[in-house]
Amino acid sequence: MKRILGTVVAVTVLAALSGAATAQDGLVMKRIAETKTITIGHRDASVPLSYLGPDGKAQGYSIDICLKIADAAKEELKLDKIEVKFVPLTPQTRIPLLTAGTVDIICESSTHTLGRLRQISFLNTTFLTGSKLLVRKTSGIKKIEDMTDKVLVAVLGTTNEKAAQVEIDTKKIKIKGEIVKVKDHSQAMLNLEQERADAYVSDDVVLYGLKSASKNPDEWEVVGPYFSYDPYGMMIPRNNDDFRLLGNKTITRLIQSGEMEAIYKKWFEPGPTKINYPLSDRLKENFQLIALPD
C-alpha cells in the first residue's frame, strides 16, 4: 500500500513539474516566431466548418479563416515562411490541448461562452447558430417537447447537451432514460442511423452538415425552434493579447475586403457538401459589428 501511495505522489509531482516546464514556453506569438510554425486544432466531422476532406486533410470555413490568420502572422512577424500543422481534436480534448500549448488556435465549431473564458480566450464571433434536433422525417418529432419516451443523443461536453438538459428539466419532458452521451458527430449519427436514438441535439449548422453528408439526405430533417444561442469563435490561449489582436484584425480585414462573404459562399452556398445554408441577416449584421474601424 505504501508503494502505491508513493506512486501516486510521484505521478502528481511529475504532473506538476511538466506543468511548470510548459509555463516557460511563453506566448503564442513568440512560439510562432521561434518555430515558424502555427498549429491549428481541427475537428473530423464539423461539416462544413472544420472537417476532414476526401483527401484526409482538414478543411472548412473555420480552417480557411485560420489560414488567413496564419498568413497574417507570417507577415506580422516578418517570417520567410510559415508551416501550418494540423492537430485533430474532440470537444473533450480541445481545452486541455490549448492550455497545454499543444495547439496555438482551435478552428472549428466552438461556442463562445463565459464559462470557457475562465480557461481560454476567443476571437470575435465568425458564425452564429443554436441547438436544434436532427430526426428521421418519419419520426413525427417537430420539437424537443415531442421527445416523450424517445431516445436523445448528444456529444458529451457540448453546449447543446447542456442546453437540452436544461430544456428537459424545465419543461419536464420525459425522454427515455437519460441523454445518451457519445464521443463525436459520427457516433451520434451512427446511433441515429441504427435507430438506437430518435434525435440528435447539436447546432443546426452541424446538423444540416451531417444531413447533407449522410448516405440518404432525404431521410433526415432538422427540426425545432432554437433552444440555445451559440456564437462560434476560434479558441486561443488566455493572456495572448497580441495574438488575439492579430486574429481579430485579420477577421476585420476579411470582412472589409469582402473575402469573408466569399469564404462563406464557398462553404455554405451550396458548399462542397450541398449544405445550402445561406448567409443570414443576423450573421451579416454581426460581421458589420465586429469590423472595427482602424
Binding site: M1, I4, T7, V8, V11, T12, A15, G19, A20, T22, A23, Q24, P91, Q92, I95, P96, T99, A100, G101, G115, R116, R118, Q119, V151, L156, G157, T158, K162, V180, K181, V182, K183, L190, Q194, E195, R196, P237, R238, N239
Partner: protein
Amino acid sequence: MGSYNWNWPILLKEPYFGWIVSGFGKTILIAVFAWAIAFPLGSAIGIARTADNRALRLAGTVYVDIFRNIPLLVQMFLWYFVVPELLPADWGRWVKRDMPYPQFITAVACLGLYTASRVGEQVRSGIEAIPRGQRDAGLAMGLTPTQVYRYVLIPVAYRTIIPPLTSDFLGVFKNSSLALTIGVLELTSQARQIEEYTFAAFEAFTVATVLYCLVTGLVIVIMRIVESRTRIAGTIAVGAQ
C-alpha cells in the same frame, strides 16, 4: 500551463461530486460484473484447452485467438454497433431499443468476454505447469478425468496463477474506462463531463487517477491476502513479493 486556473473546491460541489461518485460506482460495477463473466468462462476455456478431447481443445484455442487478438476498443464497437445488426430483425430491435441499460450491458459483456480469454490462458498455463506425471498418477489410481481435474490439477493450478490473475483483475478496472466510447458514464467519462462543465480538466482527471489507484490498490491487498491464506507449503505457489 502558466495560464491554467486551478480550482479544486469545485469538485466538492454538486452536481460534480455526485457525478464522481456515480462514475466511480459504475466503474466498479462494470469491473465486478465483467469479472463475474470472465472468471468462470475463462476457467472453462482454460480447462478445455488442456483437455484430452481434441474438439474441446480446438474450441478453447479459437476462442482465445479471437478475443485476445482484437483490440478491446474495436470489440466494444463491434458489440455495440455491429452485432445488433447481425441479429434477426426483432432481436436486433430489442437490443437497440428495449434492452435496459444498453450501453452498460454491452460494455460488461464485451469486457467480460475479452477478459475471459486472458483468464483462460492463465488457467491453461497453471494446469500445464503441473508435471504430467500427476495427471497420469491420478488416472492410474482409478480417478476419472473429471476427478483428476477436481482433486489434483485445479487446486494446485489456481494457487499458482493467483499473481497473474491479480493482474487481469486489475486490468478489468482499468479497461472499464473504454466503456465511455459507447456512452457509459463511468469514472473517466464523468471526469470529462466535469471538465466540460467546469473547465477544471486537471482537477477532475487527478481525482479519477487517485480513485483508480485506490481501487486497484485495494484489489492488490485483497489478492495478497487470498494468496497467503491459500498457499500450500512446498508448492511453487509462492507468488510475487
